[in-house]
Each structure stands twice: as C-alpha cells, then as structure tokens.
C-alpha cells in the first residue's frame, strides 16, 4: 500500500494529521484556541507593522541620512505648535489596503539599500528627480491622501491665514487642485527642473485617467516652500 501510514514521510504524516478530524479536542476548545491564537497572531502582526512606521526604523538605513537632514530643516519637523509629522505620516497610508500595498512596495527600498543605488551624495543627487517624481505621482493620483490625514480645506480658517495663503488655497479649491500641486518641496530639497518634471507627472496621470491633459502646477511653489521653511525657523 503506497499510502499506508508506515510508508508516509514526515510531510505526508503532517498533511494527514492536518486533515484528520480532531477526536481529542471538543469544538469549543478548538474555537477558543483558534480565537486566542488569532488575536495573538494579529496583535503581533499589527505591532510589528507599526514598528516599521517609526522614524527610527525609517532612518536606520545609511541612505536615508540625506533626506533626514533635509526634513529636519522643515516645518514638519520643528514648529511652534509641537506637532510633528514623521516619515510614515506622509509616506504610509492609514487605510489598511493602501498601507499593506505601500509596505510591500517598500521592499524595493531594501533592495536599493543593499545595492547601494543612492549610497553616496552624488548618487543621491543623480536619483533625486526620479525619486521625487515617483512620490509626486503617488500623491497626485491619491489626491494627496496622506497630507489630508492632517490637513483639510474644510478645516481651514482663511481669515487667520496670510492673505496670499488664503488666496492660493481658495484658488486650489476653485480649480480642484490637490496639496502636492503646490507643495512639492515641503519636506525635502527640490531637484532642478522639478516644475517641468511635475508637469510631466500631471500630464501622464491626466492621460491615464481621462485621456485629457491638465495644467495644475502652481506658479510659485518655490516661493511657497521658502515661506514655509522661513516659518519653521
């Protein structure tokens, strides 16, 4: 007999054990044990996932030193209110499905850390435009979803904003624009030719979604960025 218990290998016996009805345990015991094991597994999984959202984890790689330094000069790191947005607040979605997708896609960062793609300042600068472009594309496509975890046009009181900021935000609402259309360099230095690249990103996305091209790039995003950085000082 080919499948007699004596002739089965270790894997075969485990397979057989898995599919044989339990006779030593009651249904209640199995349900309760499965429930508790599920809580432990899910709690551990979620806790580990949250650990990968900390600033210490994100900046533990050598290649993150450049953008960490840039970020520390911005209003999102240091400001009068004491509220800080760390890496994951801008780069990791809150909603489960989008979060897991981002985490799986972040495997490429580990690969590039090991491959040394941006291991020197020169290499970093050479890739700055393409890295920024990838993030802008994601943010534009998601209507700046991660920005909107904290910022929302509906919660803004334009009367206590600077006149120029209030006017630009009103223009953004009127023209159905999104945060990243103006605030491209909000946390990291901008590469040269960034406006042309951003226009290319918006054009590509417009073609992908509706087959039309749109022109939603702020005229003075460099000014906005320097204004916000001055506020951080």
């Amino acid at each position: 007999m080919a499948d007699s218990p004596e002739k089965r290998g270790r894997l075969g016996r485990i397979w057989n054990w898995i599919w044989t009805p339990a006779v030593a345990f009651s249904s209640g015991f199995l349900i309760l044990a499965g429930f508790l094991a599920g809580i432990l597994f899910w709690g551990g999984f979620h806790w580990t996932l949250e650990l990968t959202n900390t600033e210490e984890f994100c900046t533990s790689c050598h290649t993150m030193e450049v953008n960490l330094g840039e970020y520390r000069e911005t209003i999102h790191y240091n400001n009068h209110s004491g509220v800080r947005a760390i890496c994951s607040d801008c780069h990791v979605p809150h909603e489960w499905n989008h979060k897991i997708k981002a985490k799986i896609m972040a495997v490429k960062d580990v690969y590039h850390e090991l491959a040394g793609t941006i291991s020197t300042p020169e290499k970093y600068e050479a890739h700055r435009l393409s890295m920024a472009s990838a993030v802008w594309k994601k943010m534009k496509a998601s209507d700046s979803r991660e920005c909107r975890n904290c910022h929302n046009f509906d919660y803004m009181d334009f009367t206590i904003q600077e006149t120029r900021a209030a006017s630009e935000h009103q223009r953004a609402i009127d023209n159905n624009m999104t945060c990243i259309d103006c605030h491209q360099g909000i946390a990291h230095s901008l590469p040269s030719d960034y406006l042309e690249e951003y226009q290319k990103v918006t054009d590509e996305l417009a073609v992908e979604t509706s087959g039309t091209q749109s022109h939603q790039v702020a005229d003075g995003s460099e000014e906005i960025r320097s204004f916000l950085n001055k506020s951080a000082d």
Binding site: I18, W19, P21, E95, W96, N97, H98, K99, I100, K101, A102, I104, M105, V107, K108
Partner: protein, 85 residues
C-alpha cells in the same frame, strides 16, 4: 510590476483574502464560495474608494475580484476536505 505585486499582496491579507476564505469555508459549493469571495472583492474596492465609483481603478477592482474568487474557492475546498459534515 511592483505596483501589481503590492496590490495582490494587499488583497490577500485584506478583506478579499481573509473574509473570502472564511465565507468560502461556509459552503461546499465551489461556485458559491468563489462568488461570495468575488463579491467581497467588489465591496472592498468600493469601500476603499469611499463609495465613489469615480475613484475605482479597474486594475485594482479586477485584482480584488480575482483574489476574492480564488480565496472563496479555496475556502470551499478546505470545507470539503476538512469536514465530515
């Protein structure tokens, strides 16, 4: 490619994968298990698009439905193989 893998992985450990499997385990009919999983895939995509069909990306919807279908069918197979009733 990475985008595709990310979407597939996210759906496997999200509603289509987990709830689809659980619903599939409630029936011995493979088609019904698959159907329930596929419905979960549609619902999940619409929920994450905040009930706005304009925000639904067809590729994401397709992947969610396929993952739900597979998970539901697998659930039914587990039910057939793993139970005596």
């Amino acid at each position: 490619m990475l985008e595709l893998l990310g979407t597939i992985g996210a759906n496997i450990i999200s509603l289509p994968g987990i709830l689809g499997l659980a619903l599939g385990m409630m029936t011995r009919r493979l088609w019904l298990g698959g159907l329930m999983g596929a419905v979960v895939g549609v619902l999940e995509t619409v929920i994450f698009a905040h009930w706005n069909f304009g925000n639904v990306a067809m590729v994401e919807l397709l992947i969610a439905v396929v993952i739900g279908l597979c998970a539901g069918t697998l659930g039914s197979v587990i039910r057939i193989k793993g139970t005596t009733v």
